[in-house]
Symmetry: C2
Subunit: 496 residues, 2 copies
Amino acid sequence: MDAWDQLTARLNELDALAGAGAALEWDQQCYMPPGAAASRGVQNALLSKLHHERFVAPEVGGWLDTLEAADLDATRRAAVTQLRRRYRRATVVPSRLVEALAHARSEGFAAWVDAKGKDDFSLFEGPLQRLLDLVREQAALYADGAAHPYDGLLEDYDPGSTVAELRPMFTRLASELNRLLDALAPLAHPEGTVPPVDEDGLRRLSDRLLRDLGFDLDRGRLDLAEHPFTTNLGVGDVRLTTHLHPENLLATLGGTIHECGHGLYEQGLPDHLAGTWLNRAAGMGLHESQSRFWENFIGRSLPFCRYLVPRMQGIWPTLRLTPEQLYAAANRVERSLIRIFADEATYNLHIIVRFQLELGVLEGRLQARDLPEAWAEGYRQVVGVVAPSARQGVLQDVHWSSGLFGYFPSYTIGNLYAASLGARLEEEFPDLWDQVERGEFGAILAWLRRNVHQKGASADAPVIFREVVGERDPVQDLVDHLWRRQGTLYGARRIV
Amino acid sequence: MDAWDQLTARLNELDALAGAGAALEWDQQCYMPPGAAASRGVQNALLSKLHHERFVAPEVGGWLDTLEAADLDATRRAAVTQLRRRYRRATVVPSRLVEALAHARSEGFAAWVDAKGKDDFSLFEGPLQRLLDLVREQAALYADGAAHPYDGLLEDYDPGSTVAELRPMFTRLASELNRLLDALAPLAHPEGTVPPVDEDGLRRLSDRLLRDLGFDLDRGRLDLAEHPFTTNLGVGDVRLTTHLHPENLLATLGGTIHECGHGLYEQGLPDHLAGTWLNRAAGMGLHESQSRFWENFIGRSLPFCRYLVPRMQGIWPTLRLTPEQLYAAANRVERSLIRIFADEATYNLHIIVRFQLELGVLEGRLQARDLPEAWAEGYRQVVGVVAPSARQGVLQDVHWSSGLFGYFPSYTIGNLYAASLGARLEEEFPDLWDQVERGEFGAILAWLRRNVHQKGASADAPVIFREVVGERDPVQDLVDHLWRRQGTLYGARRIV
């Protein structure tokens, strides 16, 4: 066997291990009985360990050395380039630091749960500081000559994104969003409330949506979970989850469509490149662009409400709701405290605060003890609200407690990408909104497949994005979209 | 670390791999979308390979050598003895033979599906012959001085059972069962049919049964599968499955109680011995005794029907059914062609035919081409019926196509053990049937826990069985039980 065959055999083996691990985690969220927690923890840890050992093994480095010196076709060349980056990142961190991080994460998570329950940041401060120190150390090893230490962390979630690009873009976005929110603030919320429904109907509505949007239920499925997520267990096996909120139909609807967007991306990846690791998402930002595109750009549009309401009335014949009421309910805007409940516009302000704080941490300007004050100041300046408690403020998200620094920007990168993809689609299909109103999503999906999904990880997300949208300005596209939608709905006047 | 610590660390790792594999297989039967078949196959194969490699590794043999020469307490001594047997069996078969068997199994299974579909044994004959040759070779390596080559195969499923013991016991059982069936044959079936019900109610009835029988739903769960099974994913994680047959309530009831019996055994195993492999079932025969005990001895009794019918009427208020009618329906006896649909008495005759044929194969008296004729002759003599087609005859079971020779006896060993355990329980608790009628199963379960489950694999099943029942004769106990139940129900007169 030559180096390429040996490498792909190993990558297929690693994919099988990762798929088995994903199956265990899916089961843990969806079905596992509580008494299994300890034994499942051991199983997860073993599969992760085997995966890591078999990836960082010296022979993998040797195969990459050989292939880098060889004459390869474009696909293999791209695969080797991407793999070298991953291999370097997996091997550059010494095992002492890997273990210290694992320990600090589990300590951090437990402390965060406790601190949030008791609404007392001081219980989290020590463990968080230990995490910050280790994450800085890790980032320094990752960054290796990058312009900003944060860039090294970004690459874990969004390869190709840099602080140099994100910072000015986010600053401009914050300012534009605040202009919109200021314009809407004095205006009355549009009328529209959605009555409570039953769980059985919500489940049927979710199944119907998946089929209509083009999710292949022979190559995936939908289950219920406390916190909806999507995972890929292997070729032909994409698992979506949703949560049934009988009192809050919009939450279930948004959740199902959001996860469906992730799942459509996963199902559209280039399976024929299995064994190269090019058959993967190009990054979390691009992933999030797919979920947000379907959830927000399509799913909260008036034409989509016109498609959906008759289907809802097929399930609940006595439901009294017009498409216009559903549309109004789905597009309420309000400066808010909690990220996960925020509307489409305000949401990005929550992310921008976190991004700025994480930059401060990585630049060494902020320590754990500074974060409550910095959080309050960031919210005051960027979102325009101040949390009355740590639980609704600096303790609200799980991410930092698990050592996830560099992840938050993906959410807003996703919203920005989605806005430009939507604008491109409107150019591509002049009858786009008629298609949506008729419940015909096939042409949209085929376009995304061709321009985004099928490219897998053959290039970084920013490159793929530029190939599709050309010179469009995503900040402008997102802000224009929000003015057209929420601005119009509230009857606000845009001063340009 | 000394040899013991290293060994138990490895065994815990192997258990984690096996648990992950069991989770994948559970998912495959219960939830996996069809498009995932290929990738799941790769995942299963990898986990099996890793498990095998890490068990047969030379260092494991070295640790066993060291421990065999050391001074150990009784538990460690028992663990080392059992592990040496397993290690020897895992290492004695050369990898050439392992691979040939794996290939012959997948070829055999495909040919069997095809042959059964077309009702044509000749399509299966060649692949079956190849399997027989390899299984004989394997059995010879396993047996190593055993009295009969079949003993080597038996040890895979029922360590401690031998042909020398089983053959006379099964011969006597066949003759006694035929006396019972001859006595019942001229008599009218007792009256009793169970009306169709709905799936939702069947599901609720199954859940209720699990709770009442003592299955811990915090440490296990029940799902639906085409072919019900039970599997253990790790400490605190026993998964049962059942199938909802709205037209055949008895089939669902029997399936749920049967799997619950397996699950109660798994939940009762000595968790504190994790890492020694003594926290396992002592064999498939003893496992089957637990499922059959609950399904048949308890579940088909009149007191159990008296407990159950009011609960059924709680679910289906308009259900017209008396406990006596349910009891009659659950205990119809008939000489039949298909093993899996056979009644409690006839079932064992199906097994005895297969046992005799397997002995012929292992002794070299029977080749694949002889099996249809030998099957027909065996059924004529032992069961008293002749199949009109290969599909209802020699092709009915999947076992041989997957290379499973030596497994069938476990079913009847289970029935025999269950009968003696039941007889011992009647001595132990003079009010046993009053407890059952009141739906109180706690004392029975506690007795099984203490006398069977908690012993794990610390001794072979025949030893554990003897410790519990003393000098009882299981053939006599099973035959007496059937005369008392079916004989009485049909009004037959027993001539002793």
